[in-house]
């Protein structure tokens, strides 16, 4: 029923493949080049910087990048912030989505559309007052401003994806559980969640990427270098070690690596999580 539209003409297919291959190469060049540069010695990079692959592979850049700054510390901080906010987003987001998809209440549609509309609100509009709130609460230079917002549903888009997915799960399952005396929380946790693997993986991946990538938040709220995340740590690295470019690239690779690994693990669910939510053309 669902499927891909296949061009059968041989010339057309050759064209499709050549475009794909050329495109894939162009898109991965900066990436390959980053990894390649991180494996070059300083001398080799200085003598022939435009050559892509290293003549001699050296691993010392990683070791230097890891120790030059408290990079391990930054990594740990980022892992902590990212995991807490990802788990919080997925849990609270799915609760909210459960509310929007299974219950009838006054102003439900109004609130749902209000929520969708917040996707269009530029963050700058709320940024300054939110900063003032955290300042009043004496939470500047702590992780609270970065973590707490994730406990409120984790963003409209995620809630939307979850809700669409929940709508696709037959209500009879809820009702059967209800007849067995299950509570609403039980239905959410034991009936809906186990069936929602693809969308949960998708939402978790989006939350993870968003927080791992977060630059402006830590830039505004964190002052003490020991509390820095990799994003601002890397920026600091650029200032103090800008000349040791191979090391900057090694640090960048370390920053990129977890997201790539996670993506490869979640990839199986990823597209299903979105396509089943029927964003549009269905």
């Amino acid at each position: 029923m669902k499927g891909s539209y296949r061009t059968s003409h041989p010339i057309a297919r050759t064209l499709v493949y050549s475009l794909l291959i050329v495109g894939a190469i162009v898109f991965t060049i900066p990436f390959i080049w980053t990894v390649a540069t991180s494996l070059k010695s300083g001398e080799e990079f200085a003598s022939d910087p435009s050559r892509i692959f290293p003549k001699h592979v050296v691993w010392s850049n990683y070791q230097k990048a890891w120790t030059a700054l408290p990079f391990a510390r930054f990594m740990l901080n980022t892992v902590f912030i990212t995991i807490v906010s990802t788990v919080a987003s997925v849990l609270t987001g799915s609760l909210v989505a459960y509310g929007f998809s299974r219950f009838q209440f006054k102003a439900r549609n109004f609130l749902f559309y209000t929520m969708l509309a917040t996707m269009m609100l530029p963050g700058q509009v709320t940024q300054i007052p939110v900063f003032m709130i955290w300042r009043e609460l004496r939470a500047i230079d702590t992780y609270y401003p970065l973590l707490i917002p994730a406990f409120f549903g984790g963003g409209a888009f995620n809630i939307f994806l979850l809700r669409q997915f929940f709508l696709g799960i037959p209500r009879e399952l809820d009702e059967a559980a209800m007849i067995d005396g299950a509570s609403y929380f039980h239905i959410w946790w034991k009936v809906l969640m186990p069936l929602s693997g693809p969308v949960l993986a998708t939402v978790a991946l989006f939350s993870f990427l968003g927080q791992w990538d977060n630059f402006e938040g830590p830039l505004i709220y964190l002052n003490t270098p020991e509390k820095y995340t990799v994003s601002i740590g890397l920026r600091m690295f650029q200032d103090s070690f800008g000349t040791n470019f191979e090391q900057v690239m090694a640090a960048s690779v370390l920053h990129i690596l977890p997201t790539v690994v996670l993506f490869l693990c979640a990839q199986r669910y990823f597209l299903r999580g979105i396509s089943l939510s029927g964003l549009g053309g269905r």
Binding site: F31, T37, Q124, G153, Y184, V230, F263
Partner: protein, 304 residues
């Protein structure tokens, strides 16, 4: 289709709507405290002179100064509009093209998809550091490749005529990301039977694309367009890391200038006024797009 309460007792849990509100309460509280409240506060702030120590009502002074006495505000706005005009349509065309290619039932689809998706996994600071070098005038990847085909590339990040293009080019690196995946999801949601019917009628590939794919994909396209425009107006990290707004303010984007006013000069009143100008522009653009969408966005059977 409510999950009706069948109780006779008047407990709070039996009030109509109790459970629904309970479950959406995380979002509702977040909305009140982190969105609605701050929005009103920032509107109020935009009419104040506020500099961490004192607050003073100044009427529309912040707005007046932005419009009439701040050339950098206009510069930043112009830079941002240029970026949006170049990067949004190009981004949509490229991400749709990639999605169409990937949807051709190709062998090794997963590998290609990963290759195209990879760049959008790169955290923006790391991406900026990488692209700073890609754009390096003498030894960067881009100019090295241009040299191979006999073109002398510009000083991408030092020449103010080239810098706006550098940022637009860089934005294209991410077109294989979420936007493309959303297009792909939309494409895979189009039933094969539609294409088969079109083929039976003798439609060409182009005709299929024009008459079947595009209309059915238009809601997804609309979604990507709206969020693409909004996203492009908020370009920040790459400019902050790569150029700091230079050379000669050529990459001073709106969000960067706003950030500087807010968190470097601590002019909260002025920055709030800037935020509301940005919000008004985006509201207007979104409104226009919604109006225009009636002409081109096709909702199947008029459902959601």
């Amino acid at each position: 289709m409510s999950v009706s309460t069948h109780g006779h007792r008047r407990k709070i849990t039996h009030l109509p709507g109790f459970w629904g509100f309970l479950f959406i309460s995380p979002w509702l509280f977040g909305f009140l405290f982190f969105t609605a409240g701050p929005m009103l506060t920032s509107l109020w702030l935009s009419f104040q002179k506020y500099d961490l120590v004192s607050v003073k009502y100044v009427g529309v002074e912040n707005y007046r100064r932005l419009f009439f006495e701040d050339p950098l505000f206009w510069k930043a706005l112009k830079n941002t509009i240029f970026y949006a005009i170049v990067s949004v349509p190009l981004g949509i065309i490229c991400s749709l093209s990639i999605a169409l290619l990937l949807n051709q039932n190709v062998r090794g689809q997963k590998i290609y998809r990963t290759c195209f998706y990879l760049p959008s996994l790169v955290p923006s600071v790391a991406a900026s550091l990488v692209w700073q070098w890609v754009f390096n005038a003498d030894n960067g990847v881009l100019n090295t490749m241009l040299r191979m085909i006999g073109i002398t590339g510009p000083q991408w990040l030092q020449d103010e005529r080239a810098t706006p293009w550098a940022f637009a080019i860089m934005s294209l690196w991410g077109v294989g990301g979420a936007r493309m995946v959303i297009f792909l999801a939309g494409l895979q949601g189009i039933p094969d039977s539609y294409y088969e019917a079109a083929k039976l009628d003798g439609a060409s590939a182009w005709h299929c694309f024009r008459r079947v794919t595009l209309p059915l994909l238009s809601p997804v396209m609309f979604f990507n367009l709206i969020l693409g425009v909004i996203g492009s107006f908020q370009i920040f990290t790459s400019a902050y890391v790569m150029t700091g707004g230079g050379p000669n303010h050529a990459s001073l984007y709106y969000a960067l200038y706003l950030f500087q006013n807010a968190f470097e000069y601590f002019k909260f009143g002025k920055a709030s006024a800037m935020a509301w100008v940005l919000f008004s522009i985006l509201l207007l653009l979104t409104f226009i797009q919604f109006k225009a969408s009636k002409r081109w966005v096709h909702y199947e059977g008029g459902d959601k």
